[in-house]
Amino acid sequence: MNFLFKSGHRGCAGCCDAMVAKFTLMAAGENCIVVSPTGCLEVMTTPYPESAWGVPWIHSLFENAASVASGIEAALKAMGKDDTKVVAIGGDGGTIDIGMRAISGAFERGHDITYVCIDNEAYMNTGVQRSGATPYDASTTTSPAGAISFGNKRPKKDMPAIMAAHGAPYIATTSLGYPKDMIKKIKKAIDVEGPTYIHAHAPCTTGWGFDSSKTVEVAKLAVQTGLWPLYEMENGEITSVKKIGKQKKPVEDYLKMQRRFKHLFTKEGGDEELKKIQAIADENIVKFGLE
């Protein structure tokens, strides 16, 4: 297969961002323009004067990928080139933290764009700082676990719900552990008219601390434990959910593979924390009807 996302990029061996970019271009096809904010994806795919993108691609600032995508969409419309699709793709920091104002504006104005958030749950490119997408009890360089702390004190920001509140016609969560699910949902998002949002869970070998061969395995476990539910929302209503049924695994299976959660298994009081994380998974299972 001739992939539109090309080799030679500088992503780490086993890079999550590279996988999501590859799947996104498989879904989007040739006739698209891609916008990326600053972050690992941008840095490792476009060391000047090179590009790993087989399609037109533009770098915005860290905070305004959705605004740049809006402008491109408006220009294409004015030129009558409606069949060229506009896809923004960037990290969790660039999307749900510093990019929040820009994505909110783009969705409220109703541009015909698809935004793919690659959620590796921290600011990886600058050295694993905590973001609004970092999960409860993860150790990062700005939420370090230590003598008195179990790591990040806050739960993940519920970005899909925030995008749903904007009245977006299509929103979906997905995971690189399920590439076919991801490609299908991105295709659908691109086909739906109006602003659509894909939240792609993406385990990072370097930032989370697991062997580079385990990127897909860790991603699957996030889904199979109920910590990362896969669903679609159309016009604000949940219209499909990936059931986990008999595959359901205890959260320990997911957490113990990752250095960022190591303290939960070595530090006194870790048992109590594990129960709290299991409760988050159990709540998801009930809320989304995953069983």
């Binding site: 992503g11 086993g14 590279a18 004067p49 580079s212």
Partner: protein, 87 residues
């Protein structure tokens, strides 16, 4: 001196001048007797280093494969093993 084009435009796919195969510590190797041509390794490789052959089996592009081991870890038939690179 490097000249910069208007808009700083770069050519599509031009990272392919950067052969990343030298990053590898372990090299993936196929056992074609076990492979069932499911295409999962081709789909998952983050470095597009699994190339389809005319007979429907695959071969590795060692110019770019970084040796991450995802293909070997995910192959449902255990048809890929990782062996230490010897230089």
């Amino acid at each position: 001196m490097m000249s910069i084009r208007v808009g700083g435009v770069c050519d599509p796919g031009s990272t392919r001048i950067n052969k990343t195969g030298g990053w590898r510590t372990f090299r993936p190797v196929y056992d074609y007797d076990k492979c069932v041509k499911c295409k999962l390794c081709e789909l998952l490789c983050p470095d597009m280093s699994v190339l389809e052959r005319e007979d429907g089996y695959f071969q590795f592009d060692y110019d770019f494969c970084k040796g991450c081991g995802i293909c070997a870890n995910e192959c449902p038939k255990g048809a890929i093993s990782m062996v230490l690179e010897e230089k």
